[in-house]
């Protein structure tokens, strides 16, 4: 069965052009960029080129890019560095809706004697900048706020947040794993100190990430050892993956308009049609500014895992904020933080698109999903009322 892939916030297809770009760096051009000979030197040139391409997508300078193994490593490196830079400061601010990469780290810090403030979100998933203003003080070492939420696609006002934080002398980090490649960024005109990105969310392979570190911002490395990445991240460079990430960033820059027009139009059509065809549903974060590719929609009185399994039978891949899919027993922390009622949270489905999706695939979801919801509501002891009301 050919997959219809609408789970691009989980991971993406490696673009074939990206794969071609990295392919020679396994069996042929396998040199170590640190080596003195020509064979390593030619790889060094490609790594430099990749660094330039990543920097260009972010509007940054090449020396501001540090390659890491993943988004999670970038997040850990940024936050832990800030705590070492300011050993006397014992306060960290983040949000209740962060990715576990940041949230778990912060919660562990709170067990180690740090004061951690988790900012709230409203019913649409939006932050309140006044809450941030009141929370940040002289004791704050770092504020980490995601650029865009992975589950709902809600985009946060990180520039405004960074300005507030910089005024108090703390560092500002953003987990931009879901934003990079989907919305334009310009670090040159920004106040952000550190920014995390992940390769596999923008059509590069898994196992490669990067940390943007603004020039002049003090930094203590998370990984120590050799002098790679200007001693900011030790360990032999993952050359093929770095070259792949560079290519992926170049392609992302080229496709940025497409992402914000064609991909957005597909998402909007999917949203509009599902709202029209299915009763008793709501868009999570529908009232907020969102990524162009993400749709989180909650169906009352049905359970997300059951929806996903029936979609999967039709070849459609999506994801859910339901408890049953994660092995945890509570619905997603993001939806709970937004106060989404339990009746809806258990039945939330996320569709996340990419430039590889087509209008025909959208048509398939619009055709297949309404009968699936109807069928599960017929089985559900609570769903019959809805069906009686709406026919």
């Amino acid at each position: 069965m050919k997959e219809i892939y609408f789970d691009n916030n989980a991971t993406t297809k490696v673009d074939e052009a990206v794969f071609e770009e990295m392919r020679p760096y396994f069996c042929e051009l396998y040199g170590n960029p640190s080596s003195m000979h020509f064979f390593g030197g030619q790889v060094q040139k490609k790594v430099d080129e990749a660094r330039g391409r990543v920097a260009a997508l972010l509007g940054a300078a090449p020396e501001e890019i540090i390659f890491t193994a993943c988004g999670t490593e970038s997040d850990n490196a940024a936050i832990r560095s800030a705590l070492e830079v300011f050993p006397e400061k014992r306060h960290v601010i983040t949000t209740r809706v962060e990715h576990p990469a940041v949230l778990t780290l912060c919660r562990n810090l709170s067990k180690r004697g740090y004061r951690v403030t988790e900012l709230n979100v409203d019913g649409e998933g939006r932050l309140d900048m006044n809450e941030l203003k009141n929370a940040v003080d002289d004791d704050t070492a770092i504020v980490s706020i995601m650029y865009a939420n992975n589950e709902t696609g809600v985009v946060f006002p990180v520039e405004e947040a960074a300005a507030i934080v910089k005024e108090k002398g703390a560092l500002f980090h953003t987990d931009a794993v879901q934003a990079v490649g989907k919305i334009p960024l310009d670090m040159a005109a920004s106040k952000i100190d550190m920014l995390s990105l992940s390769g596999h969310k923008l059509h590069a392979p898994k196992g490669i990430g990067a940390l943007y570190l603004r020039k002049g911002v003090p930094f203590r490395p998370f990984m120590v050892g050799g002098h790679q990445e200007r001693s900011r991240r030790a360990g032999t460079e993952a050359t093929a993956s770095i070259i792949a990430l560079g290519k992926a960033c170049e392609l992302a820059a080229r496709h940025m308009d497409d992402e914000n027009t064609r991909v957005k139009a597909m998402r909007d059509r999917l949203e509009k049609e599902l709202l029209r065809l299915i009763p008793a549903r709501r868009i999570n974060g529908g009232g907020a500014e969102r990524l162009p590719n993400t749709l989180s929609i909650a169906f009352e009185y049905v359970e997300g895992e059951a929806i996903l399994l029936l979609l999967s039978e039709k070849g459609i891949c999506a994801s859910s904020g339901s408890a049953c899919t994660s092995g945890s027993l509570e619905p997603s922390h993001v939806l709970r933080a937004m106060g989404v009622p339990f009746t809806c949270a258990h039945g939330s489905i996320r569709f996340s698109l990419s430039r590889f999706n087509t209008d025909e695939e959208i048509d398939t979801v619009i055709r297949e999903l309404p009968p699936i919801i109807r069928r599960l509501r017929e089985i559900s002891p609570f769903g019959r009322e809805i069906l009686a009301q709406h026919g």
Binding site: S322, L329, E378
Partner: protein
């Protein structure tokens, strides 16, 4: 993705006996929207009111919840009420070729709905557990899912559960805020009887050799796993009489609260090995 058997998939994709029986003899409801799954079971008896001639269900829940409900209705048709009551949650899971352990609570829900239905039919008013029915027999242990000690003890005994994690997989208890996990551990100890207690009880008199073995045991089984959970670790450096020397590793090394951690280790060792133990943090 869950590794569901073909039988589970079949009963989820083609559920048997969905619907209701307007003139049902017995109806049992368990679960709620807030809990994330709920089941309403309808049972129809023959004219002599002896055997089950029809059973139907409505379920809100995941794939395995729907499959378990479907399996249950198939299994109880043709049985007498007593025979039906004897169906265990394990038998429901077996009928489906097994369920992932994390999903065993779905089979428990089926068995429970049946019990409620039959008890009601026989004139016993029972309150199934859920958020709306907090008032019921026994003491509420898991506040998030509204589960009582009586219910948990029954499931622990029936399925011979011996860790809190298993209890969560079978009943959901402790799966949300986790506040009741210590209480669940007490219930397990109570149900599984004295031998668990005896194992943990402090021995009367110890030879030096036995004491050293016990100290190592407690550090391995009771202490280090808790430190790992926070990214820390410790190493046993030496034991000199009652003086236990340890060095902290990973996140514990240089951690501001390592003093507290050392006291925690000492407390554990005093509780489980001997009262005279002191713990000293050393460089090593």
């Amino acid at each position: 993705m869950w590794d569901y058997t073909d039988k589970v998939k079949d009963h989820f994709l083609n559920p048997r006996n969905v619907g209701d029986i307007p003139d049902a003899d017995a109806v049992g409801e368990v679960g709620s929207l807030a809990c994330g799954d709920a089941l309403k079971l309808f049972v129809k008896l023959d004219e002599k009111k002896e055997r089950i001639v029809d059973a139907k269900f409505q379920t809100f829940g995941c794939g395995s919840a729907i499959a378990s409900s479907s399996a249950l209705t198939e299994m109880i048709k043709g049985k007498t009420l007593d025979e039906a009551l004897a169906v265990t949650n394990q038998e429901i899971a077996d009928y489906l070729g097994g369920l992932p352990e994390e999903k065993m609570h779905c089979s428990v829900m089926g068995q429970e709905a049946l019990e409620v239905a039959i008890a009601r039919y026989r004139g016993h008013e029972v309150q199934p557990h859920d958020h709306e029915h907090a008032e019921q027999e026994g003491e509420i242990v898991c506040k998030c899912f509204g589960l009582t000690d009586g219910f948990l003890k029954k499931v622990i005994a029936a399925n011979k559960l011996h860790t809190a994690e298993q209890v969560t997989h079978f009943t959901k208890a402790g799966g949300a805020c986790g506040g009741c996990i210590p209480k669940i551990k007490e219930l397990i100890a109570e149900v599984l009887g004295e031998h668990t207690e005896a194992e943990r009880k402090k021995p009367e008199k110890l030879t030096n050799l036995r004491k050293m073995q016990l100290i190592q045991d407690v550090l391995e089984k009771e202490v280090r796993p808790q430190l790992w959970a926070d990214g820390g670790d410790l190493e046993l450096i030496d034991i000199d009489g009652g003086n236990v020397q340890i060095a902290f590793r990973k996140a514990c090394a240089g951690c501001v609260s390592s003093g507290y951690t050392a006291r925690f280790v000492e407390q554990k060792l005093r509780e489980l090995v001997a009262d005279d133990i002191t713990v000293e943090e050393v460089e090593g």
